[in-house]
Symmetry: C2
Subunit: 230 residues, 2 copies
């Protein structure tokens, strides 16, 4: 069956290394018969702040504005702003979601953080009553594809940055696993700006190779909720 | 000597628990003779995305726009946008910086992530040549003051969210320690929305008490760079 892919892409420049990685993903996955959609956040001028403007019509409690509550209600009643609704439709359609971004401050750039804050709405993407347990996204695969400025040696267990898996934990566990996606292991492009031209080429070639088998990869496993006390 | 305090505050509503925590900090620290400045990010409509608009005048390389390089150059030449320069001046003045925010997706809200991305400019706040080693902020104390939606039990070492210190690692080590601040231990307000009214009151009282001695607190210690191999 033809798969649908969403690439959420956060780089300002179409000649960046991130753009190259994104373009290769579009090319390889399209060649495999996938339908690929790209959310190019900077090009879209994507709003990165969670505000009352994200909600159409009257607020339930404008005096004590709670984004968590108001956005949940607006989602239930179809009153979220159009830019959010559009991203949510893309997400609903997708079998695979790839986040392509440069690491900014041990995390995603603000524009992509805003996408997470605004698109993964309470009720739509998670349930506070069922943390890690909403089944909406259970058949969707998701992965981070990230470039760094620091070399790999700074991100190992004994490096000063700490293990890269610790740095990615809030994103991978806190957001993606919490929302019930199946996580594929991250693709980390180490310090392309410091690499020799041929090494950059190799990184992109190995990404191309990985993409060819990506849809068959087994997801990472997390300790399920029932193993934890309440 | 009278101290200067900067509170970077990220909540939409002036009747929120976050607002209460921020107001108490202003009150207690002012009473101690400090000059307290608040950057109220939503009220300021703070821009959360790192774009070419942050730079005045010509770009060095518009074709291959690199935020890391262009913002560094603009900082050196005094060509950063006024909103960034203003925040940088506040930071330069401050002896103590408190970040007051609700946890959004195991991290800061997009608007505060944008503040980190845009204000902590390459050259001003860190040096790639001296990671963790720029001395500009070495006499400044900094702390996170964060509210959660999840109860503490989900954030312990054996809880499904993992240890709160892991979740805060990218912020505390990756951003604040990297920029050479002295970190005070974080203030975590566990799930105020789930708490009974009297427990919320107690949380704020204990914050008030802590604030009274905050300027005398010893900073957290991190393993220094020279302990790591290159
Ligand atoms: C606010 C901010 C915070 C940051 N925080 C961190 C952090 O916490 N940790 C960290 O490690 N880094 C950090 N960085 C650095 C950042 O992660 C890197 O600058 C970024 O990942 C580099 O990716 P890029 O796509 O921008 O690279 P580019 O600079 O676009 O590209 C790197 C090189 O690849 C070349 N290239 C482009 N296309 C191709 C192609 N098709 N084939 C071969 N080569 C190509 C380019 O010409 C260039 O020489 C931060 C940067 C900023 C701006
Ligand atoms: C996009 C998004 C992502 C999120 N991600 C996470 C996450 O990863 N992990 C997590 O744990 N949570 C998460 N949350 C939940 C969020 O952290 C909480 O909703 C937030 O921390 C609550 O703080 P608040 O200031 O908004 O509380 P409020 O809702 O404003 O206040 C809580 C209670 O305190 C009362 N109060 C206000 N002022 C006072 C006062 N002076 N004295 C006594 N009581 C007072 C209020 O009336 C209310 O009853 C997320 C929320 C959103 C919107
Ligand atoms: Zn699970
Ligand atoms: Zn140090």
């Amino acid at each position: 069956m033809a798969k649908k892919v969403l690439i959420v892409y956060a780089h300002q420049s179409s000649s960046s290394f991130n753009a190259a990685a994104k373009n290769i993903a579009v090319e390889v996955l399209t060649a495999q018969g996938c339908t690929v959609e790209v959310s190019d956040l900077y090009a879209m001028g994507f709003k990165a702040t969670a505000t009352a403007e994200d909600i159409k019509g009257d607020l339930k409690d404008a005096e004590n504005f709670s984004y968590l509550e108001e956005s949940k209600l607006a989602w239930e009643q179809g009153r979220l702003s159009d830019d959010i609704t559009k991203e949510q439709s893309k997400l609903t359609e997708a079998d695979l979601v790839i986040f392509q971004f440069p690491m900014y401050w041990f995390s995603v750039p603000g524009i992509l953080k805003g996408w997470f804050d605004r698109v993964l709405t309470n009720g739509f993407a998670f349930s506070q009553k069922k943390p890690y347990g909403l089944e909406t996204f259970k058949d969707k695969k998701v992965m981070l594809s990230v470039t760094t400025g620091s070399p790999e040696s700074m991100f190992c267990t004994i490096g000063i940055n700490g293990d890269i898996n610790v740095t990615l934990w809030p994103l991978q566990n806190g957001i993606l696993h919490y929302c019930g996606f199946q996580l594929l292991s991250p693709e980390v492009f180490w310090a392309p700006a410091l690499a020799a031209a041929e090494d950059r080429k190799k990184m992109l070639e190995s990404w191309r190779t990985r993409l060819q088998g990506l849809l068959e990869e087994e997801p990472l496993s997390f300790t399920p909720l029932y193993c934890f006390d309440k």
